[in-house]
Amino acid sequence: MCLTGCAAGGSSDGSTSGDVVKLGASLPLTGSLASFGPVFQDGYQAAVDEVNKAGGVTVDGKKEQVQLVVLDSTSDANTVADQTRTLVLQDGVAGLLGSVSPALTIPASNTADLEKVPLVSTLTPVGAWKAGNANGWQYAWDLFFDEAAQIQDLFPTADLTPTNKKVALFTDTEEDGIAQGALMEKEAPAAGYDVVYRAQFPVGTTDFSEYVNAAKAAGADVVIAQMIPPDSFALWKQMKALAFAPKVAFCEKCASQAAFQKQLGPLAEGTSTSLIASDPSSPEQQALTTRFSPKYGQTTDLNSVMAAYSAAKILLDAINTAGSTDGAKINDAISKTDSQYPIGTVKFDSTHAYAVPPATFQWQGDKQIQISPKSPTSGTLQAPVSGLQ
């Protein structure tokens, strides 16, 4: 039996020179969340490239280049756990970068805590992420919005157009689908909305006709869906086919990637989603926009790149501050982060989270226009959802 040096490791740039500091990430490059993986990889790599261009990170008094090692998790939680262990134990990474969604980030966070190697993640709602470790994370850090804040942003956005205040929820049975669905049901009355129908279905559902007809019969003017992108493509097509035309439609997690518009074309028009706002005044944000606009256009994929870039930059800055690849020292440096990044002025709280304010975007043509909060670049909500009319 081959017991040494057999396992393969993937490198994004193939660099294997002697004195390099490695960062590792197990990302969903294939599978149900494949639309997120390459975007994350771009953001992480952009931060690494920038640091390398400036000479690298300082470790034990000398500059070392940084190498990003990326493995494809196939959107599977078990694979994330195995691969992050490989990244730490075989590749010897100094730090880990997170994946998307609690299902994939929590296993990586566990590896970080068990192996005492710091991990910085984003695009993972902080409430569900914190619930992944009741005793509190020690080496894992997350920067994204809180689910409650996200929901508090949804109903005011729906208020921007007259509706009958009746809501139909379409939530899958993944952890964030169940958790956020329940939260929406709880918060809706306080915002003056009535959840008249809630469909719950397993991931991989392809026939939504029964649910769509029930929502239509309930007379819902507002649709809020929380599901993975491939399933949402089927739901949106069936809403159109069954002539269910809500005045406002949110597709959380599903419409936040350019893949939504690419797959649905005109059907995507008018659909809204939550993500994090970008800071156009940040020079790093401007550089990222210039670099990635040709690839991603004016979509929230750019915001995701920015979030991933921020996560990687926080980790790299911490390595520089620590002047070492020692996990405990880097972790200590992360805890003291108090600097401006494209995602905001990051300062982690005692639960290792930095709650970013959510923003709502709407698909208008092939662009995602920020609807709320208001900013110099934001637009107005288009209603009803013209893609479904």
Partner: protein, 345 residues
């Protein structure tokens, strides 16, 4: 007399297999700490797979009941282990023992209901159990529903301790697999596998035999699930009850040699260490290669790698032990090759 000779031959084979197992375990125990943390982590996972595949082989290979409920047993074992660890503070071994009990009970319950079915209907029934268990767990608030549960990280054993645990679990599962295979109970189970009605007419209770096999299988698959859970520290239904477990275990046993003693072990090494780990950077390719390998094995080595190796060895031995044939007499040659003989003539 014939029966006695057969029993003695089987007993000798059992002893040989157990000695080989003991040697392997001693080797792994002695050299484990020297192989480094990463390889130790891989071998820990491999050993858990060996335990699960060997356990499935008892009901699926020796018993011929093609169960796809393994993912449910893995899930039950995982959840029981983590919940016991969180809630009771019992020693790790007690938590793992409870996982085995949980797996066994769930398997027995599944068997009671599904052994009314045979063949494909039984397989589909076990698939339904696996899916139902997954769906149930996504809504069961007591176990954290879709969020799942985490073990207190301070209670998670070190890599070396977990390696020793996996070694014991795989060792006991393989020993039980060997004993079952060579025991009278194993023979009864094979009789049920080969023809349930004939076995029944000979006084063997198919239901009882299958129930014992299913329960044993569930216990060790649950135990393996406990080891997997301890390695991951946190579990949620989609990973703990994933159907991938059922498929992977079946592929390992089929590739290694279904219904053989060492087939599950060989299959686990080939599929996990030979394919999954080596192609870790391209897991999608790894799945495709595993599938192709299974198709090739079914086509060209229907008894798996172990069965193929056994046949090749038997064929070689036969050839070596068969004395060379004397040259044909002219009359025999004429009978065998009439045309050639005629031409020569």
């Amino acid at each position: 007399m014939k029966t006695a000779l057969l029993s003695s031959g089987r007993r000798a084979s059992a002893v040989r297999s157990l000695i080989l197992l003991a040697v392997l375990l001693v080797f792994l125990a002695a050299f484990g700490p020297a192989i480094g943390r990463y390889q130790m982590s891989l071998v820990t996972t491999l050993l858990a797979y060996v335990a699960a595949a060997t356990a499935w082989n008892i009901i699926g290979g020796i018993g011929g009941q093609f169960s796809l409920a393994s993912s449910a047993f893995i899930g039950v074992g995982s959840y029981v282990t983590i919940m016991m660890l969180r809630g009771t503070g019992l020693p790790l071994w007690s938590c793992l023992a409870t996982a085995a009990v949980g797996g066994a009970l769930f398997a027995a319950l599944t068997g009671v209901v599904l052994f009314r079915l045979r063949g494909f209907y039984f397989t589909i029934g076990t698939l339904a159990v696996a899916l139902a268990a997954l769906t149930w767990m996504t809504t069961f608030a007591f176990t954290g529903a879709t969020t799942g549960i985490s073990a207190p990280l301070a209670l998670i054993p070190s890599g070396a301790a977990l390696y020793q645990m996996a070694l014991v679990v795989a060792g006991v599962a393989t020993a039980v697999g060997i004993v079952v295979f060579y025991s009278p109970f194993g023979l009864r189970l094979m009789a049920v596998r080969d023809d349930e009605d004939v076995a029944d007419s000979l006084g063997i209770s198919p239901f009882r035999s299958k129930m014992v096999a299913m329960t044993l299988s569930g216990a060790f698959i649950g135990l393996a699930g406990g080891v997997f859970a301890l390695q991951k520290a946190s579990i949620e239904p989609f990973s703990a009850f994933s159907l991938d477990w059922s498929i992977t275990i079946v592929v390992m046993v089929v590739v290694g040699g279904i219904g053989t003693v060492w087939g599950p072990t060989i299959g686990a090494i080939v599929i996990y260490y030979g394919i999954t780990v080596q192609l870790q950077s391209v897991p999608a390719v790894s799945s495709v290669i595993s599938g192709i390998l299974m198709i090739l094995v079914i086509k060209f080595l229907p008894h798996g790698i172990v069965g193929g190796a056994h046949n090749a060895f038997a064929s070689l031995t036969r050839r070596r032990n068969t004395p060379p044939k004397p040259p044909l007499t002219p009359r025999e040659n004429e009978l065998v090759h009439p045309q050639t003989s005629g031409l020569e003539a």
